[in-house]
């Protein structure tokens, strides 16, 4: 059967709300409106005012309330309509949620999930298109998850809700409506994915493409195109950015000796940069038969007009080009 990312998220929420009465969802329009992007559809009708809570448009305030509730033993799922708006609340995410377990020497843990769409949607311009992956992944104390498909969405969100630590869960609006084939296992209410483990979406021997979120789609596209010219690309879906599963990258690199990172966020000090750095600093470096290249968003704020927006984002062809360069194919 198939499942959209939206329905996968919805299922995960539904099951976890049912499973644990400490779990509740709060955010703007999550209840009566069914969610701005309909991720929480039907949950308010099913669970009512106690568990599904519409907030005013006050991100700093409701994120702080959510963190406080988590400190006091509840398990909030705090939806940001998009992560752009979470910038208003980021002090609560970093200083109150991420640092408290450490500062308190383990006395106070903060079991909370901050979730919502991250990165570029379509035609929403500079203020609504930022990708915060690198920012959150930079910060110890957080777990940072970046689902790509329906399986990821369901399994990782359930894991995030069950986790006893603050989790930043970065979704992608463009992927919400996309259906993916899923196994029965994924549909079961026991389906939970491990945090901190990457997944090999496609195996191949010639080059490794490391990516996350929407970048995985681009990478799979590119892998198909590469296949046509006889290149077998291995596609790694990181799933978790913090803690990063470098081991999976290492193993793949030992096989392929070529690596490209793919993400839609800005280049400077991004996740790809970290992967390159870790490769360079580790024993992997000697495995490289070519430098590692990054495929990234262009280093500009997001413009509105479609041709510019397209030009601001990486395409499969960029991956193909870099793979060819790495493999020295003309």
């Amino acid at each position: 059967s198939t499942l959209t990312v939206r329905d996968a998220l919805n299922q995960a929420l539904d099951e976890e709300i049912k499973r644990d009465e400490r779990v509740f969802v709060l955010g703007e329009e999550v209840a009566q409106y069914d969610g701005a992007y309909k991720v929480t559809k039907g949950l308010w009708k099913k669970y009512g005012d106690k568990r599904i809570i519409d907030t005013p448009i006050t991100e700093m305030g409701f994120a702080g309330i959510a963190v406080g509730a988590a400190m006091a033993g509840l398990r909030p799922v705090c939806e940001f309509m998009t992560f752009n708006f979470a910038m208003q609340a980021i002090d609560q995410i970093i200083n109150s949620a991420a640092k408290t377990y450490y500062m308190s020497a383990g006395r106070v843990n903060v079991p909370i999930v901050f979730r919502g769409p991250n990165g570029a949607a379509a035609g929403v311009a500079a203020q609504h298109s930022q990708d915060y992956s690198a920012w959150y992944a930079h910060c110890p104390g957080l777990k940072v998850l970046t689902p790509y498909n329906a399986e990821d969405a369901k399994g990782l969100l359930k894991a995030a809700i069950r986790d006893d630590n603050p989790v930043v869960f970065l979704e992608n609006e463009i992927m919400y409506g996309q259906p993916f084939p899923v196994s029965d296992e994924v549909l079961s209410e026991d389906f939970v994915l491990p945090i901190g483990k990457a997944k090999i979406e496609k195996s191949g021997d010639h080059i490794t493409l490391v990516s996350y979120s929407k970048g995985v789609e681009l990478s799979l596209d590119a892998a198909n195109q590469l296949e046509a010219i006889g290149v077998q690309a291995e596609v790694i879906n990181l799933r978790t950015l913090r803690p990063l599963d470098f081991e999976t990258i290492r193993q793949s690199l030992k096989k392929t000796h070529h690596l490209i990172t793919v993400e839609t966020g800005w280049p400077f000090a991004n996740v790809g940069a970290e992967v390159l750095a870790q490769v360079m600093e580790s024993d992997c470096f000697d495995e490289l038969d070519a430098p590692v290249f990054r495929v990234t968003g262009v280093d500009v704020p997001m413009p509105y007009a479609q041709p510019l927006e397209v030009a601001a984002l990486p395409q499969a062809r960029h991956i193909v080009n870099m793979a060819k360069k790495s493999l020295n194919i003309q």
């Binding site: 448009i57 006050t58 208003q88 379509a122 609504h128 500009v300």
Partner: protein, 374 residues
């Protein structure tokens, strides 16, 4: 009628003020026609935008101002040279009133070169020399507006900055932070809450522990205004400007209005209110038909004159539509423009290291000149 005609507006409600604007207002023919036309232009422009959106010629968000025209037109009527405005994403009407053409607005929505910012900003980001946008982040414009007022005061200008926000945004903490500093420093800022009943799908009662927005500034005095009456809005704004410029500091204006459409075009706008409610407002409180009736009754305009005007407005919008749907979009080089002001050309990293290039043009103006468009 040639001279001034008197009208009575709905009463204002006052917060921490001993006296307020007058409910007795006057209007002359020129102004009557002018306000009518401005409101109609906005109404028609927004309808056109709605259609363009449905035809998928506008991308992303598209927040229409239909139903709220009397607010912008009334405030604009009270503005004097040097006054400044900042609002949120529901900005098309203001952009037009403050100096942009209908073409520039609609072409921005369709992302064309003749757009207000040539397609780089889209629906939420338009500007004129006295208009600071078009801001997409709820609440951000509140301190920004106070800051613009700060600059006015710094330069000893006898002007105000009209700082608009919605009933939803009225709960944002930064409003209270900005109000506190505005009051401490007597900044000439008018915090204007356009209460259109909803923030997205949330009715005011569910978002705001107090919906008496004109009182929410606490120590900042406030006035409730019938935001469906362009004359009440104009009068209140005039009064407020005088108050501010007498050095008394900020004021809150709470404009009771209504949004006919959904929050943005993707919201049908009917799950959280009934179609009847919308119809009822259209029938009994519409800012344009109400005003039309009054000026015709008062003899300030005739049905025919206004019909002519409607036709003219239709032409303006139709002509604008043509440009907005046929003009070209910026060439892709524009991706790399407008990064820094007065700074030598930079290298800009592209999607790959191999697409890293020096800026072909520093800014959009330079590019437009180069391709013969400016």
């Amino acid at each position: 009628v040639s001279g001034d005609v008197s009208f009575t507006t709905k009463g204002y409600k006052l917060h921490k003020l001993d006296s307020g604007p007058s409910s007795e207002v006057t209007l002359n023919k020129t102004d009557a026609i002018h306000y009518y036309k401005q409101m109609q232009v906005i109404r028609r422009m927004e309808s056109a935008a709605g259609n363009l959106y449905k035809e998928k010629k506008i991308r992303g968000f598209c927040h229409l101002y239909s139903g709220q025209e009397a607010c912008a037109v009334g405030m604009h009527a009270a503005m004097t040279e040097g006054d400044q405005v900042i609002t949120a994403y529901r900005c098309h009407g203001w952009t037009y009133l403050l100096g942009s053409t209908v073409t520039e607005v609609l072409a921005e929505l369709t992302g064309r070169m003749s757009g207000n910012v040539h397609g780089k900003g889209g629906s939420m980001h338009m500007y004129t020399p006295v208009f600071y946008g078009g801001n997409g982040i709820v609440g951000a414009q509140q301190p920004l507006g106070a800051g613009i007022a700060f600059a006015l005061k710094y330069r000893n200008q006898k002007n105000v900055c009209i700082t608009l926000y919605g009933d939803g945004a009225a709960n944002q903490g930064q409003l209270f932070e900005a109000a506190n500093m505005a009051k401490l420093w007597d900044l000439p800022v008018l915090f204007v809450c356009e209460n259109n009943g909803f923030g997205m799908g949330t009715a005011v009662e569910r978002s705001s522990a107090s919906t008496e927005y004109y009182t929410r500034g606490d120590y900042v005095p406030g006035i409730w205004v019938d935001g469906m009456d362009v004359l009440a809005v104009r009068e209140a704004t005039k009064w407020a400007k005088e108050y501010c410029n007498a050095g008394k500091g900020p004021l809150v204006l709470d404009m009771a209005t209504y949004r006919y459409g959904g929050h943005s075009m993707s919201d049908p706008g009917t799950s959280y209110r009934t179609r009847e409610e919308i119809q009822e407002v259209r029938k009994s409180r519409d800012p344009i038909t109400g005003f039309k009736d009054r000026i015709i009754t008062a003899g300030l305009a005739t049905e025919e004159e206004l019909k002519e005007l409607d036709k003219e407005v239709r032409h303006i919008v139709d002509d604008a539509l043509k440009v907005a749907t046929t003009d070209e979009m910026l060439p892709v080089e524009a991706l790399y423009t407008d990064i820094y002001h007065n700074t030598p050309k930079q290298m800009v990293r592209g999607a790959t290291i191999d697409e890293t290039i020096p800026q072909p043009y520093l800014n959009s103006q330079e590019l437009l000149k180069a391709i013969g468009r400016a």
